[in-house]
């Protein structure tokens, strides 16, 4: 069951007792973007640029944003299976699946289970793996004031984020997203100890995008995903933190669209 609000291109899909809110805009090949732990507030400039060439779908994950928190929401695998049903329910095929951070982890979990509806996979600063000896910031212990500096290489982005005083509604949304994030990523912290065993099953072309100064999921993880996914290429953005799409949007969009066009967009 799908309800569509034409004014801001948002829709609601009621699936498995969970109403999921998603935005959809643009024409062309389907690009499904899975957001990170902080959620998505709405269309961002880099997303809108993608809508000029793609049919872009941006859901709020179950538990996040304006989507429901269903009873069955226990772990990252539940999200992966949910999205496989979501793709089926919307009748999507040849999907270019793009995930950032937590969303990248979900995308990888989806792809190891069933890639039949996928055309390509792009992982940006994706969580999901643990590399012994590679230290990272514990996002669950970070004070709110320390989050922006940890996210960016160029501190002017951090300053801009810090300068924004959150509204009460934004604080409530952060608490909701924080709960959902902890639900799937608290223990083990931001990874699935069984994911690495199955990444070889990903049989679509994969692109791995990373900032070389990512403190949340350090760039060593890019090399590990490349090692484990058969058809993977990597692009590392210099002087860039955990959010390449925000910190270096043009380089991010160029890398992403070039990859998708090369692989049958």
């Amino acid at each position: 069951m799908t309800a569509v609000d034409q004014s801001n291109e948002t829709s609601t899909l009621n699936l498995l007792g969970c109403k999921v809110n998603y935005r959809r805009k643009g024409t062309g090949p389907t690009l499904l973007f899975l957001h990170g732990a902080a959620g998505v507030g709405g269309w961002t400039p880099w997303m809108l640029q993608l809508t000029e060439r793609f049919d872009v779908i941006v859901p709020d994950h179950p538990g996040f944003g304006s989507s429901d928190t269903p009873e069955w929401f226990d772990n990252i695998h539940d999200l992966a299976y949910y999205y496989l049903d979501f793709i089926k329910a919307l009748g999507l095929h040849d999907v270019h699946l793009v995930g950032h951070s937590l969303g990248g982890w979900i995308a990888a979990e989806i792809a190891v289970r069933d890639s039949s509806a996928l055309k390509t996979l792009t992982l940006t600063a994706a969580a999901g793996l643990r590399i012994p000896g590679v230290e990272r910031v514990d996002v669950f212990l970070l004070a709110p004031k320390d989050v922006p500096p940890a996210l960016f290489f160029d501190q002017k982005f951090a300053d801009a984020m810090s300068a924004h005083t959150k509204t009460d509604a934004e604080v409530d949304l952060d608490l909701k997203n924080g709960y959902a994030f902890a639900r799937v990523a608290w223990q083990p912290r931001l990874y699935d100890p069984h994911l690495d065993k199955w990444l070889h099953r990903i049989d679509v072309p994969a692109l791995i995008l990373w900032g070389d100064a990512d403190k949340i999921v350090p760039p060593e993880h890019a090399a590990e995903f490349k090692r484990l996914i058969p058809q993977a290429t990597v692009e590392i953005f210099p002087h860039c933190g955990h959010l390449p799409q925000v910190e270096q949007p043009q380089a991010f969009l160029r890398a992403l669209t070039t990859f998708i066009e090369r692989n049958g967009a």
């Binding site: 212990l141 902890a182 608290w186 223990q187």
Partner: protein
């Protein structure tokens, strides 16, 4: 009315700068600050203080569980309780074991059954969820805290009351064979207390007609104590019965000296250290996602941002009872008569309070405060008049 003493067993020699340097005495404060040669003497001292409280006429003594911090050196409270079981005559309370933090709650069933046998039915079995920071330290998901607590509780109580072996099938705990040996002395199970800093969900659960567990409000300002005690009484009434005084407990730090001035002067550095050094936690440590409801976390975060707490401020709020014997007994009597609790738990050592002052504090409480209150508060388990 019953009078108890509780010890947190803090690491008193902690370098005063350490907690500030690491922004907390929990989780990330390096254990290189723990001097291995100090531990033995500390345990000897703390056990001596608890044994003294029992010998001087406290009705019971209490220990509790905390993990990976300088705040309390009892990650396994049963070890201390086992040592005490051989030495004390009164009730022995473990307040409590943090149920969600273990992956096999049957070990808690077993530990409590052993203790209840060793002290011949004098055990009070406390069940808690643990402090938010302990979900970082133990790797348990805080979003599962309430659900794990309830399931572990059901498993433990069933293990004491249902003939074994039986299969317990829960979401978090699934045991094909539940069949513990030994079983506790007390029937149907040991007295159960639920300590909490205040949670309406916990109160609703503890006050149900088939549980009637003692609810123990810990370290709270008077209005908070009053609110949660009233809430408990209301819940009991909703369930068709009146709360008995012994179903209500209050636990708070206390310090008594000859005069108010002397008590304030002696307690201040140690109490301030307790609140600001040993109990120094960031909001991210204390309130991990899901540990409390989003609304509670939002409310508690705003309170936490109010800066350092002073002894004077805590006295004003009713969180610390300090003064001459007269001041302390009158304050406690007024509080008891207003609120009607039947169990009073005195934290007689806090922060860096040294052994001599702790012992003198215990003596004052036992000789100049408890007898006064015993004479004035009816011991009978009559329903609390509203």
């Amino acid at each position: 009315m019953k009078f108890f003493g509780i010890h947190l067993m803090p690491y008193t020699p902690l370098d005063p700068k350490a907690a500030d340097l690491y922004n907390s005495a929990w989780i990330t404060l390096p254990n290189t600050y723990f001097d291995r040669d100090e531990g033995h003497a500390l345990y000897e001292r703390f056990i001596k203080e608890l044994v003294a409280a029992d010998a001087l006429g406290f009705d019971g003594i209490c220990v509790n569980e905390h993990h990976q911090n300088a705040y309390g050196l009892m990650p396994i409270p049963g070890v201390i309780a086992g040592a005490l079981a051989q030495r004390v005559k009164g009730r022995l309370a473990v307040l409590g074991r943090a149920l969600p933090l273990v992956n096999n709650p049957l070990t808690i069933s077993e530990e409590y059954a052993m203790l209840d046998q060793m002290c011949n039915g004098r055990l009070i079995a406390g069940f808690v969820r643990g402090i938010g920071a302990e979900y970082h330290s133990t790797g348990i998901n805080p979003t599962e805290s309430h659900a794990r607590f309830h399931e572990a509780h059901d498993l433990i109580v069933q293990s004491w009351t249902r003939p074994g072996p039986f299969h317990f099938a829960g979401k978090y705990y699934d045991f094909e064979y539940v069949n513990p040996w030994p079983l506790p002395v007390q029937r149907p199970h040991p007295t159960i207390w639920i300590p909490s800093q205040g949670s309406s969900e916990t109160i609703e659960w503890a006050a149900s007609a088939d549980r009637r567990y003692t609810y123990l409000q810990t370290l709270s300002p008077t209005p908070v104590l009053r609110r949660y005690m009233d809430l408990y009484k209301q819940e009991c009434r909703k369930n068709g019965y009146e709360a008995l005084p012994e179903q209500l407990g209050w636990s708070t730090p206390m310090y008594v000296a000859k005069t108010d001035e002397q008590a304030y002067a002696e307690a201040k550095p140690h109490f301030d250290a307790f609140m600001n050094r040993f109990f120094h936690l960031t909001p991210e440590m204390l309130l991990p996602p899901g540990y409390s409801s989003a609304a509670s976390i939002k409310m508690m975060r705003s309170k936490l941002s109010s800066g350092k707490r002073t002894m004077e401020g805590c006295i004003e709020l009713g969180m610390f009872i300090c003064g001459s014997p007269k001041t302390v007994r009158e304050t406690l009597l007024a509080r008891q008569q207003e609120i009607g609790f039947g169990n009073l738990i005195s934290q007689f050592q806090f922060g860096t309070l040294p052994h001599d002052l702790t012992m003198r504090n215990i003596e004052y409480l036992a000789t100049d405060v408890w007898p006064f209150l015993r004479e004035r508060v009816a011991p009978s388990p009559e329903a609390v008049a509203s």
